[in-house]
């Protein structure tokens, strides 16, 4: 009963085993990949482990405050150099082992040639909002 973020990267993660750029795949391979992700989310909803998931566009910009009365400064995009997040899925599972198991299954999404991509996914635990009763004599 802890939430984890599974992060999928466009860039920045170690190279997957089946490393072929998506624009080199066949349309059928892309459809199969998307269907796999969709089925995966559906399955997790049925097991009661799905929380949320979204895909992100690769274009991003950096934005910061630039002082009173001035518009924010924007910079980028830096698609060529930065770690780029492609999307995320939030799961709510009983253990870290289960989170790793599910990330492993998601990493097997089919890619070029219909073979698993073996892409690297980042698994990050959520910080919970409330301390538990065992903590520090609270």
């Amino acid at each position: 009963m802890a939430k984890y973020l599974l992060l999928k990267h466009y860039r920045g993660a170690p190279a997957p085993l089946n490393d072929v750029c998506m624009d080199q795949w066949t349309p059928e391979e892309i459809s199969a990949h998307i269907q796999f992700m969709r089925d995966f989310a559906d399955r997790l909803e049925k097991t009661g482990e799905f929380v949320d998931g979204q895909a992100l566009a690769p274009e991003g910009a950096w934005v910061r405050y630039d002082g009173e009365g001035r518009p924010p400064v924007t910079d980028g995009p830096f698609a060529e150099t930065k770690d780029l997040i492609a999307g995320w899925m939030v799961i709510d599972v009983d253990s870290y082992e289960r989170a790793v198991e599910l990330a492993g299954e998601l990493s097997a999404a089919p890619g070029a040639g219909g073979k698993p991509i073996h892409e690297w996914l980042e698994v990050r635990p959520f910080l919970t909002s409330a301390p538990d009763a065992d903590a520090c004599h609270g």
Partner: protein
């Protein structure tokens, strides 16, 4: 219309249906239908025996659903009089329901969800809000759990310890959404204590009451964590503390010590001190010795090291800490605290920052970061 009464009757009614042989999922649907019926009918025509009314109505709903001529029967039922009182209350049924919902074949998350649904009578939406997951996810979690336990026989008593673990998990979730899970866990544990005679049930109830009594003092208005020693003790709920201590004492008198009683004893010693300085740390160390003996739990060993640090000084605490696995969560935070007490703010600041980095919850991380910042500021200006 007393919603609390309805919710407290729900598990008993469900228990009767399941014992009579209704499939768990179908029984649950039938009870929900009967509750809707009660909400509609009772305000104008309150029953003499609410439980009997519900059992009869739910049983009829169940039969309706399992018979092909359901529609016709429902029309007939609508013109019928108030159902006659049901059989005498059988507390056994509720207990069976607790066992079923905490069945070892369920994962902890499923057991918790099913318990809140079936025993607690919460709606799926309320449970999903409390656990911050989509309602569809929680609905699936609950229906899977129901399918799992529908295959289990209810012919032998379950393990009370499993039920207690599930209730303690609910309690530790605290509250989010509009349901206070800690209060809900206390309500359910009270209900369990009424139907099962076991000192550990009392131990858990006492532990929950004693922890809950301090809740108002545990966080500042902005959500920041306030450690026990700095809490405003006038904000502790003395009624809950008194009740917890009374329950604990009668449990301890039965001389069948368990981990929840030992933990409650520690909480009682904290609650009993007028000021942090008056805390009886020597006795607390003894209770942690018992806990370590009972559970061998690393968390108990860690808490024992804290208590030793208070009872015999920081050096003794650090010596106790040295025997523990360095990877143990919160070990670094405890080491930081003891080093500061031992007059070594430099080491303490470094360890607080390290502990903050490893903290698994937000309030704790912010607290530890502030401790590191406080020491570092003092070191710079000295």
């Amino acid at each position: 219309m007393d919603e609390r009464l309805l919710r407290s009757l729900t598990p008993e009614v469900l228990g009767v249906l399941v014992r009579r042989g209704a499939d768990f999922a179908a029984a649950e649907d039938a009870v929900q239908d009967a509750l809707v019926e009660a909400l509609r009918v009772w305000p104008a025509d309150p029953p003499r025996d609410p439980k009997g009314w519900l059992v009869t109505a739910a049983w009829r709903k169940f039969l309706d659903a399992t018979r092909s001529e359901a529609a016709r029967r429902r029309r007939e039922d609508r013109v019928e009089e108030e159902p006659p009182p049901g059989p005498a209350p059988s507390t056994d049924d509720t207990l069976q329901l607790y066992f079923l919902c905490a069945h070892p074949s369920l994962t902890p998350a499923s057991a918790v969800a099913l318990t809140l649904r079936a025993v607690g009578g919460l709606t799926t939406r309320q449970i999903s809000e409390a656990y911050l997951v989509p309602e569809a996810t929680m609905a699936q979690r609950i229906s899977r759990a129901k399918r799992t336990v529908s295959k289990e026989r209810l012919d032998r008593p379950g393990d009370v310890a499993t039920v207690l673990r599930v209730l303690y998990l609910v309690f530790n979730e605290g509250y989010s959404g509009d349901v206070d899970l800690a209060a809900e866990a206390i309500r359910l544990t009270r209900q369990l204590a009424a139907v099962v005679d076991h000192p550990e049930v009392s131990g858990l109830l006492a532990l929950m009451l004693l922890h809950h009594a301090r809740r108002a003092a545990r966080t500042a208005a902005d959500g920041a964590l306030i450690p026990l020693a700095e809490q405003d003790r006038t904000r502790w709920d003395t009624t809950a503390i008194a009740e917890g201590i009374t329950i604990l004492q009668s449990a301890l008198a039965r001389d069948r010590l368990g981990e929840f009683q030992a933990q409650a004893a520690v909480a009682a010693l904290h609650a009993d001190a007028q000021t942090a300085e008056e805390t009886d740390w020597v006795q607390i160390v003894e209770w942690y010795d018992e806990l370590v003996r009972l559970t061998g739990s690393p968390v108990a060993r860690l808490n024992r090291a804290v208590a030793v640090g208070e009872a015999d000084g920081p050096r003794a605490g650090l010596a106790a800490l040295a025997e523990l696995d360095p990877a143990l969560p919160r070990r670094t935070a405890v080491a930081a605290y003891l080093h500061e007490k031992d007059g070594d703010p430099g080491t303490a600041a470094r360890l607080y920052a390290e502990a903050a980095h490893a903290a698994s919850n937000l309030a704790e991380r912010d607290y530890l970061t502030r401790q590191a910042a406080r020491l570092n500021t003092a070191l710079r200006t000295s």
